[in-house]
């Protein structure tokens, strides 16, 4: 039975669970997982963009217009700080694309030292 944070009656019975979480559609579980992650991540990105649109609309009503946003020029300090953040973001989100891996899972131990 599903557990919830309430003592009120729920009028529920146990469901027969789907096994969709164990599905392997694309022939490689990693590929399946990556697609699921991308969908989830993209949903969060869109939610953030949509919230930004709400904020821009509200700001416009307060006198901060789209034109003012577009024309805004950051200060030198802001530019420097934003570039650091941008590079960190690119590395964390896309850095693995440049990973030139060659060893299969069956590869033996490498010689160390």
């Amino acid at each position: 039975m599903v557990e919830i944070k309430s003592k009120r009656p729920t009028y529920t019975v146990d469901a027969i669970k789907s096994d969709i979480g164990n599905s392997l559609f694309l022939g490689n579980p990693v590929l399946d997982n990556v697609v699921a992650c991308l969908i989830s991540l993209s949903g969060d990105v869109w939610a953030t963009k949509r919230r930004m649109k709400v904020l821009e609309s509200l700001l416009a009503k307060q006198g901060i217009t789209q034109e003012m946003v577009e024309k805004y020029r950051p200060t030198e300090q802001e530019v420097a700080a934003w570039e650091v953040e941008r590079d960190a973001f690119v590395e964390s989100s896309l850095g693995n694309l440049g990973n030139d891996a060659t060893r299969p899972a069956s590869a033996g131990f490498i010689t160390r030292g």
């Binding site: 039975m1 599903v2 919830i4 944070k5 309430s6 009120r8 009656p9 729920t10 009028y11 529920t12 019975v13 146990d14 469901a15 027969i16 669970k17 789907s18 969709i20 979480g21 599905s23 559609f25 694309l26 022939g27 399946d32 697609v35 699921a36 969908i39 989830s40 993209s42 949903g43 969060d44 869109w46 939610a47 949509r50 919230r51 709400v54």
Partner: protein, 401 residues
């Protein structure tokens, strides 16, 4: 996210809500004058027509995204997958128009799992969408349960719950991979309502205002004698069809019944909120408990493909029992093939819907001749049947004398 401090408190608030909706203003004031502001917070994001907006902007935005993915998946990704699918068939020397079973189809494409990318995108978008809804309603469980409690005993429409009813295992599946299905989550109705709005957008168009249900009801035929005093909606779910029926026939006694208590609870709450006095009951379509010859119109809306073929036959018999002579029977559902063979692409889609979208009975339904089965059970189709929902099965029947 709703701030829990903003939530109204249980019993007193329930009493206040019920009283307000019955116009017992004085009683509401006595039940909790200080709760008035908190009651307003229940719908603090407001409504879009008859659709209560989701309780958080980001949740609404994620659903907006989910709509978009569904639209893209249904067109571009589906076309790409279909092209890959046809190439795989060609490689195996299988003609695309050949009639095949599901097993034969899946064997023909097993070497190229990348074909499944459209199905993967569809189902995981759906899974993420369901989870975001379930998480939200569970986090705010007490608030939403209190809201339903406050409407359970409020009219004009009645609500009948049967907590001791034996729920058949066939109705316990997580249809559409909705977590908990229709019976296992207290917010099954909420989750289903918001979730299925995206289903409509990608297939039939917008339905946030019940547009599809209302248009379909508007096309429904009436008995030849024009008498419409009682209407039954079998397997009503959250009652969008039920309320549309009550709107078209405001003087009729309209009942929506469903196996899922959370579904009819939400349906009843929603009907009261939008001011429609339809009745709801947790009952089985196979065993409605209504008297013989009681209804002038008996309908169902996309229910039968979600039950075993054997149960469908029982439901037709029950519809025959409760319909009056000359009464209309119009179960709306998909067309069926009447066989377990079809074109490869069609059977591939049916497989994913049945197996992975957890529409566990869809293959059985598709293999039966639903329309013919109704004709064998005491109903007659008119010479010029009415098309209630274009693209779906035309099953306009009149109960024999």
């Amino acid at each position: 996210m709703i701030n829990r401090r903003m939530m109204f408190r249980g019993t007193a608030a329930s009493a206040a809500m019920g009283a307000i909706f019955k116009n017992r203003v004085a009683e509401a004031a006595e039940a909790g004058k200080s709760l008035a502001a908190e009651v307003k917070d229940l719908n603090f994001r407001g409504r879009d027509g008859r659709l209560q907006l989701l309780g958080a902007l980001d949740l609404e935005s994620k659903h907006d995204f989910s709509y978009g993915v569904r639209l893209m998946q249904g067109k571009k990704m589906r076309e790409t997958a279909q092209a890959m699918f046809m190439r795989a068939l060609d490689k195996k020397g299988v003609k695309s128009e050949a009639l095949m079973t599901v097993d034969e189809v899946m064997k023909a494409i097993e070497d190229d799992p990348a074909i499944n990318i459209a199905q993967k995108t569809w189902l995981f978008n759906q899974r993420i969408m369901w989870k975001s809804l379930q998480d939200f309603f569970h986090e705010n469980a007490d608030f939403y349960l209190a809201e339903m409690e406050s409407f359970d005993k409020v009219g004009p429409g009645k609500l009948e719950l049967n907590p001791n009813m034996e729920i058949p295992s066939e109705a316990r599946h997580e249809i559409h991979i909705q977590p908990g299905g229709y019976v296992g989550d207290p917010f099954a109705g909420h989750i289903y309502h918001y979730g299925t709005n995206s289903f409509y957008i990608s297939v039939l168009g917008h339905n946030e205002q019940d547009q599809i249900h209302k248009k379909t009801v508007a096309r429904l035929p009436t008995p030849a004698d024009g008498k419409v005093k009682r209407i039954l909606d079998m397997g009503c779910g959250i009652g969008q069809f039920t309320t549309a029926l009550k709107e078209r026939f405001p003087d009729a006694e309209v009942w929506g019944i469903d196996v899922g208590a959370p579904m009819v609870r939400y349906g009843h709450t929603r009907a009261q909120k939008i001011g429609i006095g339809a009745n709801f009951a947790q009952r089985l379509a196979q065993d409605t408990k209504f008297p013989d010859n009681y209804f002038d119109i008996t309908v169902s809306y996309i229910m039968h493909h979600e039950m075993p073929a054997e149960s469908t036959l029982k439901v037709i018999n029950e519809a025959r029992r409760v319909a009056r002579s000359g009464g209309i029977y119009y179960p709306i559902d998909f067309n069926t093939r009447g066989t377990n063979k079809g074109t490869a692409w069609g059977m591939y889609g049916l497989w994913f819907d049945s197996r992975w979208n957890d529409e566990v009975w869809h293959q059985e339904f598709d293999a039966m001749n639903f329309t013919a089965e109704i004709g064998r059970r005491g109903f007659t189709a008119p010479k010029e049947p009415v098309i209630a929902l274009p693209g779906f099965g035309v099953r306009h029947f009149i109960r024999n004398a």
